[in-house]
Amino acid sequence: MKDKPPMYVAKQADVEALGFSFTPEALQPGRALEKIGRLRKKMRSLMVMLETCTKCGNCAKQCHSFLGTEDYYNFPAARAELFRRIYKRYFTLSGKIFGRFAGAEDFNEETLGKWLTYYYQCNECRRCARFCPFGIDTAEITIIARHILSELGIIPKFLYSSAVNMAKTGNNMGIPKAAVIDSAEFMEDEMREETGVDIRIPVDKPNSDVLYIPSSADFFTNVDTMLGAAKMFYVLGTNWTIPSSVLEAANFGFLFDFNVMKEHNRRLKVAAAELGASLVVQGECGHGWRAAKMYTNALNGPVPFRLLHIHEFCDENLAKLPLKKLTMRAALHDPCNYARTGGIIEQPRRILRVCVTELVEMTPNREDTFCCGGGSGILMDEMLDIRMKLGKKKAEQIKAVGDIDYLVIPCSICKAQIPAVLKHYGLDNKFEMGGLMDIVGKSLDIKKT
């Protein structure tokens, strides 16, 4: 590969230890073509989305990745062309006959290098699909391209590590069960001090009705999100637990390999059966919500439980929650995987209107939201510079809402990315930020219940 990819790539021995087969560099384009040939017979999206683009360019100005980096290959249609040109050359009649005239191109290692570089600068936010007259979803092409790269043994180290951690400990951060229990006890103490009542964070409690799948970051960096969830379950008298075997809403497999995603969802299914849960509630994680909601049925067969996002659960029970209005002006950021991909659009707004005195909207918002620039598993440190560019559009949007007291960023990746972006663009220290459940937790009047 001629271009040096912007991220560290896992070593051959490591990916092989994880069960991936590694293809030597010279054979990679050929193997990749075999895989494209196989996948085009399995996924209609791949075929139709590669075959219907008219290259009108409407997606260019709608993509935060292109707007932020101003790199041609981050223009969604151009990113897709990295795939489409190859596809045309080997799988379409016009490409075979007309070649370059029709935009077909031979596949070589250089193009494959571009795949790694640019398919990992797409946040899979689907804003291009929203603005494409045909509904061509570059995120879908990105997902498939990443899957093919992984099958060749080309996996960013960051994603590889989270998969290893997930396999070993049941969460991406590699937190062992003992530390999870410690952390839960610590949070219970904190809540006891604050409210004077015993609010539990049960781990692996058998015969639970509700399985709560937090983001593992909620145990250490986004503690307030966990406290909010625990308080809400307490007030509602929910019989709930957190499974240590899948202590992670984030499903990084979705971001690089279908089989890793499937394994994650399988763990979810097993945990629900073992602990007896009939309802699974997913915590604040954007892509994890998409992976669970949109893929579990198809990948893992029908599941016997109900599946809700914690915002949906909270919204359903809103009338039962003793919420008092916090005096603050709060702005809501719509994570892309909630708004466009997961159907979580009005629920957070209904919840916020009860919890805070003033809710301000960003422009654009809801399904037209711009991604934070950290999505799709590119939170690695070595990509920080690129990530800051990817976050430029979000920073401008946040700046434009003016004075606020609190910025609601209800997704673990947004929670990691947006503070860094704001710092980079000199917008930090002006307001607090955190999840939506954080606000619910603070707004819940526990003593009265």
């Binding site: 209609r44 999206s45 075929m47 008219t54 016009s94 299914k269």
Partner: protein
């Protein structure tokens, strides 16, 4: 040569267009959609879904939300194209007397037919030029464009230029054209009118039809298949009433190569 252009090529073009397009679409529909690609907010009823797709197809909603000029020119171009096609069918079949069906006099109908044809032809021409200009001037779109993208626009421009020349300058012998087209449809060959402008106009359209199924023009069919995918209803949990399956078992779509330890 004239025999080939007049009596053979039209049938080849029509067959390639129809069969090619159908095969292409059938090829897409044969492939499963393993995961719902719902783009929210999604309609919850079939009627809502049809409405959403119709708005997209009739008004280009997504484009309108984006770049306004692109929306305007491409929408005008497509509307004009549809009107021109409808106008050709009606004008040739009724020899420009189609508006007598709604009470106009024969002269008024011919005049209205000519005016409408001129207006939509002009709109079609201008919007094609605008799209051509846009493709050449926006840097990232220019870089993205292949010769084929200019060829498509050029071919349509050549068709509209020859057509408009007949309409505005040289005129066309409608009854002769009608007799010829009728001959093609009824399989009773009538020689093609010996008007080199008509012959080029007609041949260019045949080339377009021949080229259609293999080019990006297939987006005419792709939009339906694609929009149907992204407006799919989201999955529900639990999916209907299911018998509890043993933990860990899975009816599965397999994407792996086997032997994966994860």
């Amino acid at each position: 040569m004239l025999f080939f252009i007049g009596q053979v090529l039209p049938y080849i073009a029509a067959a390639v267009f129809l069969v090619g397009t159908c095969l292409r679409v059938a090829g897409w529909l044969r492939v499963p959609v393993p995961f719902p690609l719902t783009l929210f907010p999604a309609a919850s009823t079939n009627a809502g879904r049809v409405l959403a797709i119709s708005r997209e197809i009739l008004f280009f909603d997504s484009l309108r939300r984006g770049e306004k000029w692109l929306w305007l020119w491409s929408w005008l171009m497509h509307i004009a194209l549809v009107m021109v096609i409808v106008g050709h069918i009606a004008g040739i079949y009724y020899l420009a007397k189609q508006f007598t069906l709604v009470g106009f006099s024969a002269e008024a109908s011919a005049s209205l037919s000519a005016w409408l044809g001129t207006i939509f032809g002009a709109v079609f021409f201008v919007s094609l030029l605008a799209l051509f200009y846009r493709r050449m001037t926006i840097p990232e779109v220019k870089r993205l464009s292949d010769p084929a993208d200019y060829f498509d626009l050029g071919l349509l421009l050549a068709i509209v230029v020859t057509g408009m020349y007949m309409r505005l300058v040289s005129g066309a012998d409608l009854p002769a054209v009608r007799a010829y087209i009728a001959g093609l449809f009824t399989l009773h060959p009538v020689p093609i009118p010996q008007d080199w402008l008509f012959i080029s106009h007609f041949t260019l359209v045949n080339i377009l039809l021949l080229y259609f199924p293999f080019s990006k023009l297939i987006h005419l069919a792709g939009i339906f298949v694609n929009q149907a995918m992204i407006t799919q209803p989201p999955p529900v949990y639990p999916p209907r009433r299911v018998n509890p399956t043993p933990a860990g078992s899975s009816r599965s779509v397999s994407f792996g190569e086997g032997g994966r330890r994860l």
